[in-house]
Symmetry: C2
């Protein structure tokens, strides 16, 4: 640490494109970054020159070190353009680390490759607050999402194949193949089979001691093909996989069924990766993932299929977070990237654990929660922190003048079309009305007992009067501080005020005041209703028949003690993305309820969730190419 020098930014005005800034930067060897944060050589595995995987053993080595300050970055309900949470996360860390000299980690999610080639482009931050090298961050990185794809699809293949084999074989044939007889007449269970026996309440380890009835129960999972909930995944924006039929090959035709692909980051395995706290915990969670019920309604798991171990093996390297760096040489841990609707949208617990130990008492760990505070932050507190036992000090809520004007009644904001004048000219009336949305989120966050700092992510069109109004309203709503931040144009130097505000909020807040919104022992419906009323401001909740039926099923299966992960739009506090500001007088409709038993949550579906995006007529990929002389990537955004 002593000899480490943060690289200086060479700020250019007007601010060049993200890729131009990223390409102009010369990243430090990741070895220097690793040294600077006190990682030992044996604790890192290089992946090229600018990425390294970090071993979980760090946590054990530093178990006596006090954790650093734990800060979550969240936001108001955004416009479809996004309000800059990632950029603010990076900018804040550059300020705390490179400018204030605090040991500071940004813990962020790995982006899906789908949007990189589709509409959105990459997710490495923006302007002078970016993770580099941005092409390595946005593309394969260290292969974690690919590992998830492989693991997810191995389980999918195991499911359909098992249904086929059970349908075409007698109990005796299945037994003979699953537990073959050796020459001397002996049989042996694979260790994973003992898990199924235990679940069935069969307390035997000698195959030859099983009764016929026990053999039958053991060999027949009796999966109900019409109720399989496990989908295949690909990390590609392929809308034609939203609805497919599989099993149309000659030999599988009798078993044809309708299903679909999701994008890989929507896989439950991603949520498991993000929520597990150790290798052992990951193994157990992967094993108990439910792929659907048997015909008699029993939950069938990955371990029942004999594949929980193999998918853990596929995830063995993915469990290690990837160390990268910001433009100013501060450390970044990239790890996991679960969907923020059907999953909890937060980066991994393991990355936070490692970072908190490496940062130490005086240091900072800034972690990002997806979507707005009604979803990402609520899930951060009630799901992620509950799973890890870690207590946050402070939440940073990112707001923009643009988005708040939209909440105040401004015209619709559409990606790809120019912004209305209402957004680029001063308009205190629209902004004033819109701040209600921000105030609502501030009040929500205070319910969890954490400090709240508002970061006004600066656009060059914002006027002093607008910023002043925003600050006043934020403080009135109970924020510890509210400050303008110009990290996009200025890097860490532009986020100094924000960094000081965060320091102050962390000092002012007693971690021990942190609390969850609801206890787990409430019923599924009570938990849903608490979130709907307390966080979204709904009058109540209504359940469609499908949802009622599923709640009954999960109650009967003993899954009622899990936390709730709402799958709701991020564009409104309500379920209706068109209702801006602070909607009132609405009843939250629950269309369906699903489960991620391994990740460990129930997810009620509010509205329609697209689980695999599409490509526009002219996707980003048209611009992306490689200069074959220099090997440099062109056109990535």
């Amino acid at each position: 640490m002593e000899n480490f020098e943060y690289p200086k930014l060479n700020l250019i005005k007007p601010v060049p494109s993200d890729i131009d800034i990223a390409s102009a930067a010369q990243p430090l060897p990741i070895k220097s970054i690793a040294n600077s944060v006190g990682l030992l050589e044996e604790e890192i595995d290089f992946y090229g020159k600018y990425k390294a995987k970090v071993s979980l053993e760090v946590v054990e080595r530093l178990k006596d070190v006090e954790n650093g300050n734990y800060v979550v970055v969240t936001g108001i309900n955004p416009t479809p353009l996004g309000e800059g949470k990632s950029t603010t996360t990076i900018g804040l860390c550059q300020a705390l680390g490179a400018h204030l000299g605090k040991k500071t980690f940004a813990c962020i999610r790995q982006p899906s490759q789908g949007p990189t080639f589709g509409i959105k482009g990459g997710a490495a931050g923006g302007g002078y607050s970016q993770v580099i090298p941005m092409e390595e961050f946005n593309l394969h990185m260290t292969g974690d999402i690919h590992a998830i794809t492989a693991a997810n699809n191995l389980l999918a293949a195991a499911i359909d194949t098992r249904v086929l084999h059970e349908s075409t074989q007698t109990d005796a044939q299945l037994w003979k193949r699953l537990c073959p007889e050796a020459k001397d007449g002996s049989r042996k269970f694979a260790p994973i089979m003992l898990r199924r026996l235990k679940k069935l309440g069969i307390d035997k380890t000698e195959p030859n001691e099983l009764t016929q009835e026990e053999i039958s129960r053991f060999v027949r999972l009796d999966i109900d093909p019409s109720r399989i909930t496990w989908n295949r995944v690909l990390d590609t924006n392929d809308r034609f996989l939203r609805g497919i039929s599989v099993g149309q090959g000659k030999e599988e035709q009798r078993f044809e069924r309708k299903t679909n692909f999701d994008i890989s980051v929507a896989s439950e395995i991603m949520a498991v990766l993000a929520l597990c706290t150790s290798l052992h915990d990951m193994r157990e969670r992967l094993g108990r993932m439910v792929i659907g019920p048997s015909r008699s309604g029993e939950p069938i798991t990955a371990d029942d299929l004999g594949v929980g171990g193999a998918i853990t093996v596929l995830m063995r390297d993915a469990i290690m977070p990837t160390l990268m760096q910001t433009l100013e040489g501060t450390p970044v841990l990239v790890h996991a990237g679960p969907f923020a609707n059907i999953a909890h949208g937060n980066s991994s617990i393991i990355a936070d654990q490692i970072a908190l130990k490496l940062a130490g008492k005086e240091g900072y760990v800034v972690t990002e929660a997806g979507f707005g505070a009604d979803i990402g932050a609520e899930k951060f507190f009630d799901i992620k922190c509950r799973s890890s036992g870690l207590k946050p000090n402070c939440a940073v809520i990112v707001a923009t003048v643009r988005a708040l004007k939209m909440h105040g009644g401004g015209p619709k904001v559409v990606a790809g079309t120019p912004l209305d004048k209402a957004y680029t000219d001063e308009n205190l009336e629209l902004l004033g009305k819109g701040t209600d949305n921000l105030a609502h989120h501030i009040k929500n966050l205070k319910k969890f007992g954490v400090g709240v700092v508002v970061a006004i992510n600066k656009f060059h069109t914002d006027t002093d009067a607008e910023v002043k109004l925003l600050v006043e309203r934020s403080l009135a709503a109970g924020a510890n501080s509210a400050v303008m931040s110009d990290h996009w144009a200025e890097g860490g130097n532009g986020a100094l005020q924000l960094a000081h505000a965060v320091e102050k909020a962390c000092k002012e807040t007693n971690k021990e005041n942190f609390k969850y919104l609801y206890p787990l022992d409430k019923s599924i419906k009570e938990k849903i209703e608490t979130i709907a009323k307390e966080i979204y401001g709904a009058d109540g909740v209504e359940y469609l028949p499908e949802a009622e039926e599923k709640i009954k099923l999960y109650n009967s299966q003993g899954f009622d003690k899990l936390p709730i992960c709402m799958a709701k739009t991020h564009l409104s506090l309500s379920h209706d993305s068109e209702r801006k500001g602070v909607p009132t007088g609405f009843t939250l409709p629950i269309r369906d309820v699903k489960i991620s038993a391994g990740a460990g949550f129930i997810y009620p579906i509010v509205g329609t969730i697209a689980s695999i995006p599409g490509l526009p007529t002219r996707p980003c990929f048209f611009e992306i190419d490689i200069d074959t002389k220099s090997g440099k990537i062109i056109g990535l955004s």
Copy 2:
């Protein structure tokens, strides 16, 4: 190199399981291996402690160094159990390198993950001739296959989405979106669009200069959905994806079509990776891959879809071979692993190029060709060497007493059932008859002008008389040498005789005598017939109507100058896997003819080719798990 010490094997009898041997070995840091072969620090990228990617710049740096001896390992027509080509490749390299002190590289294919969890298990060699760490080799390695999956499926998504967009938009709408107007009325082509214009013979770079008719030709690829040949891929043994329907989602229903997934290693992108000679060459090949014809019969390419650059970007790291090591610390380059039926089944040209330079004049590069010599070696010579311009010195043909007895009329060999006594007791009669198969392959190989060494891969049941008979017959058929090799039980020390035989054959052979079987300017049918008659021993060839039609199409599209890549069973010299020995009096039936225009070959389909394997009732995955305390993988085979 000076200070490098090869690790000594600690041989145990009886030979333990592959995973036990592999786990007991402590691999050297890959940095030491890299140093030992003269790689510079800036030429390698670490991927963990035991794998490193090697930069293509090595070839440029060492351009004045004379290439090493170039040896291809091939085999007779095998039993379904395999006859040990990979094991022999590794054992031979251990002998040449660690025992004879020659700079020696093994260049081998990356295995598909499908079989690792299915029936076959891993592919890292066996016994005391293995690549380590075997779990890293058999699982994700450095992510190359995952990159192929991502690139392949991005192209697939682009195809179906383009069909949809062209069907729902007018020419003007497509033009507006593909080439949007800026505020000042100007339009700009993405550079990749100029490729399409050039193909269309439109010599313009200013969008506003295009005529209506030119715009229409530019924006409408007019892909014929019923003749799309590009499939999606996954590296999973998922038989339910052999026949599927896509586009059954609400918004895609009008465009529903039948298609299928292949296993990732069957992707044309894998063949491109294996056959390209530089980054530039890869970019061009990927861009000209044909995904099917337009309604008027024009070949539509990845570049027409605007995605050739993006998929190259996804393959940017994959183009670098991965350096690993054998149990005796000799270097291994792992790179590419195309199917040996619908593709050419050889590891990459780039790995061979790098290895030949690093090995230098006195050194050896041992590369493996999939399947038997009738397929793998023929394709090595006629496709791979033709593409690279490299000239091989010598072919090693791996034979086993077991397989030759089968060719001599022994009972059927089936995986998973015990071998018949005919195979475990001495039987000179069966073996004597069976050697015809070996003799046929030796004569075939001599046609290419290379040295031929027969490696009798030893089984403990082989008798001295059997080995003696085999040696005699091999020499009589024209082999330079024929030797027994016991590398499985003894490591490099067991392959010393083989190593000496290879040295001798390389010295005896004048590389300049190397020749192809056929010139490219013959017609497609003439080339097919040459292979069928000269290599397989067929009387002639018959073409089914589908095949006739495709040959006409490729002739009209100008693809008739490509080499031929036969998709035939490896279990027989003929098209019928049941016909052992040296079948005669048969006509080779060509069911269909397909093209890999980017990889650069035409592949006639002889028989049925399964392009995605299935899982048995009890797949390997039941045994595979992780010890969560030590992090060690269990049960991988």
